[in-house]
């Protein structure tokens, strides 16, 4: 038997669950799981890896039945392992009904609505859409190592 270096698989899930803190301090708003939201951004916006918190810059206007800040993300499935990859995916689709978007949009920001500053988690892009008196639905990928919305491999 020989030793092998590894990022321990369970530690990846533990990171998603906030059990490890490598920073100088940890400030959490609660002791239960956090609430997350998803907001939509215009194709002309510049959301991406540099985002630190949710803000309205480039977000769809609060018109046409869209509420700035976005919609709540259903989180009924806790992070888990698929092989050695920690994965997490929202447990329901996101949907905006009776929507008329203020312009073409192609991005969704996932952010932590429990945190005091609405910390950004990830930006996801898709083909540009413009909705007129209709419904926009974003169905989540399969919650698996190769496809889950959030993955720590």
């Amino acid at each position: 038997m020989a030793n092998s270096q590894a990022f321990c698989s369970q530690a990846k899930v533990d990171l998603m669950n906030g059990l490890h803190a490598f920073g100088a301090s940890v400030i959490r708003a609660g002791t239960t799981k956090d609430s997350f939201k998803a907001a939509l951004y215009l194709a002309s916006a510049s959301r991406g890896a540099a985002d630190t918190v949710y803000n309205t810059t480039g977000e769809l206007a609060g018109t046409g039945n869209y509420t700035q800040g976005g919609t709540a993300v259903t989180n009924a499935t806790a992070p888990t392992l698929d092989g050695t990859t920690a994965i997490w995916t929202p447990s329901a689709s996101l949907s905006w009904a009776a929507l008329t978007s203020s312009g073409a949009f192609d991005a969704m920001l996932l952010y932590n609505d429990t945190s005091a500053t609405d910390l950004a988690v990830a930006v996801f892009t898709f083909g540009s859409q413009n909705i007129v008196a209709g419904t926009f639905t974003l169905t989540m990928p399969v919650n698996a190592a190769a496809t889950a919305l959030l993955r720590i491999a």
């Binding site: 009776a98 990830a122 898709f126 990928p141 919305l149 993955r151």
Partner: protein, 66 residues
């Protein structure tokens, strides 16, 4: 015929011209439907099913260790 929500309120589908489309690639399967009165777009809905996020694009921040 079903009623369709439009910019002019609910209208019978038989009064509208319907166009549909699909985008299917490695990252998403998207279907959309549009309804027109003449050249006027009065309804557009879209359903995006996410498949997999490409490494190196917008989702890279969510994929650690790659």
């Amino acid at each position: 015929m079903p009623l369709i929500q439009t910019t002019h309120g609910e209208m019978d589908e038989s009064l509208l011209t319907k166009r549909e489309g699909t985008i299917d690639n490695d990252n998403e399967l998207t279907t959309w439907v549009e309804y027109y009165i003449g050249d006027e777009l009065v309804h557009r809905s879209a359903h995006v099913t996410l498949k997999k996020w490409p490494d190196g694009l917008g989702a890279l921040s969510a994929v650690f260790g790659q």
